[in-house]
């Protein structure tokens, strides 16, 4: 979040994308966001908000509704999600904010804002089928413990990943 703008400037209507709200809620996973009445229960239970008070799920929901597309999709905080599910577990309106956040991350990824660890993991899956490589030391260790060798099924995973277009997602360049 741009700290200076936060202090000085109001939200400029000319910077808003009024279609963003419907663009997000068109996704089945985010349709429930309409029911949000901004009580903030999600934010009270969010570990990211506890560490970074400038982020909150409630605020993010408001920003989506206002059309602050650029601010939402470029926010680094949306990638910090621990996937604890507290937000949706505690929501009195049954908004699945965890799913809403995934919709936003998916949109951000397409715009080039993807967090690099998840892009790197995808690359690894295309090779071994797992998010880790399987080296000789590991193979030896498993053998010494009488555990079966790990078979690579990366090729088929790769085909599906390409079919889903996931291979085209690029990580955000470090600034």
């Amino acid at each position: 979040m741009d700290q200076d703008r936060k202090k000085k400037d109001p939200i400029r209507v000319s910077n808003l994308d009024l279609k963003f709200r419907s663009e997000v809620m068109r996704h089945k996973d985010a349709a429930g966001l309409n029911a949000c009445f901004s009580c903030g229960t999600c934010s009270a239970g969010c570990p990211i908000s506890e560490v970074f008070p400038e982020y909150s799920p409630k605020k993010l929901a408001k920003m989506v509704k206002l059309g602050m597309k650029q601010d939402v999709l470029s926010s680094p905080f949306i990638w910090y999600c621990t996937t604890c599910h507290n937000c949706e577990q505690r929501c009195p309106q049954n908004v699945k904010f965890f799913n809403v956040l995934n919709v936003l991350k998916n949109m951000a990824a397409k715009k080039g804002y993807a967090a690099s660890p998840w892009v790197e993991q995808t690359r690894q899956i295309m090779q071994t089928g797992l998010i880790f490589s399987v080296d000789e030391a590991l193979t030896k260790k498993r053998k010494s413990l009488f555990l079966p060798a790990l078979k690579s099924n990366g090729n088929k995973a790769k085909r599906l990943i390409k079919l889903a277009g996931l291979d085209k997602i690029k990580a955000k360049k470090k600034s």
């Binding site: 996973d29 570990p47 990211i48 506890e50 560490v51 970074f52 990638w79 910090y80 999600c81 621990t82 996937t83 604890c84 599910h85 507290n86 949706e88 577990q89 699945k96 965890f98 995934n102 919709v103 991350k105 998916n106 990824a109 993807a114 967090a115 660890p117 998840w118 892009v119 993991q121 995808t122 899956i125 089928g129 797992l130 998010i131 880790f132 399987v134 590991l138 260790k141 498993r142 413990l145 555990l147 079966p148 790990l150 078979k151 099924n153 990366g154 088929k156 995973a157 085909r159 599906l160 990943i161 079919l163 889903a164 277009g165 996931l166 997602i169």
Partner: protein
């Protein structure tokens, strides 16, 4: 006898091998047959961050392989459990299932909704049962005080688990611990996330969460934290040392994976069956209290 396709996931068979070892031993000991699968890949949980469709497709691929063999899936990792169970739920929708199957067809697969997913603790709880576990106990662990940690995806998203345990007030791991004779210590941050999924992106969030739980446990006189997910294990066990160095802390809390605790009670070999030698934080005090006067 129960029979399951063993879903090892990515992290357990590469980083936390003692979880795999002890799970295999406990299952064999209690009559749960595990079928090794060559075809399984990553469950797709982290790929959901980039593309919900791609993540679901990877999950569906795994479900389809198990279904091809006529098996349900037994998971070790809580996150794999959540991802695959959520996929089962999403794939109940005909339109979603058809869309996924059109893609799966390209590698000769189809998922029709038959294969279900259960975490190893759920299999122990439901298929074996607390009473049978109690009858098989050989070592007296009644002097042990341990803190349960469930792992977020063991019971969440709630819609994927049909209410078999309550994610806000979970009981099953407590009961599984009690079945071994050990005492499950109550504590305030029981449901706190381990931060494992934010660790690759934000160490600030992850370390904050780990410390919050370890701080809470520091004065509870516990002999060990007991987890049922290898990512939770890595965060509380391996990262404990990193945090000690980085933040000048002095945490010294042993961490066990539940099948290791159960395996101790069932009389498993500490090293060969349960891999306790692979846990770096010393278990010496715990073993003395458990009446097991053997060095690992």
């Amino acid at each position: 006898m129960s029979r399951y396709a063993l879903f090892l996931g990515c992290t357990t068979p590469t980083q936390v091998i003692q979880y795999e070892l002890s799970s295999r031993w406990v299952c064999q000991h209690l009559g749960i047959e595990l079928v090794d699968m060559d075809d399984f890949v990553c469950c797709g949980i982290n790929q959901v961050n980039l593309s919900q469709e791609a993540g679901l497709l990877l999950a569906a691929m795994n479900l389809a392989y198990a279904e091809e063999r006529g098996l349900d899936i037994l998971t070790l990792c809580a996150a794999c459990t959540g991802a695959l169970a959520e996929a089962v739920e999403r794939l109940k929708d005909q339109e979603t299932r058809d869309r996924m199957n059109r893609k799966l067809q390209t590698i000769g697969l189809e998922y029709t909704g038959k294969t279900q997913v259960k975490h190893i603790s759920r299999v122990l709880y439901e298929d074996v049962g607390i009473d049978k576990i109690k009858r098989k106990i050989k070592s007296d662990l009644s002097q042990l005080r341990v803190a349960p940690h469930y792992g977020c995806h063991y019971l969440k998203p709630e819609s994927a688990f049909g209410g078999w345990d309550d994610p806000d007030n979970p009981k099953t791991l407590h009961q599984l611990i009690s079945a071994t004779g050990a005492f499950p210590v109550p504590y305030e941050t029981l449901n706190l996330c381990c931060g494992g999924k934010s660790f690759p992106v934000s160490k600030d969030v992850a370390f904050f969460l780990v410390q919050k739980k370890l701080d809470n446990l520091t004065n509870k006189r516990i002999d060990s934290l007991v987890v049922q997910c290898q990512t939770c294990y890595l965060m509380y066990h391996d990262q404990q040392n990193v945090i000690n160095e980085q933040f000048k802390k002095h945490y010294n809390i042993p961490v066990l994976l539940y099948p290791q605790l159960l395996g101790m009670a069932l009389g498993g070999d500490l090293k060969n069956d349960l891999g306790l030698d692979l846990n770096a934080i010393s278990l010496d005090n715990l073993l003395v209290k458990a009446g097991i006067n053997r060095k690992i």
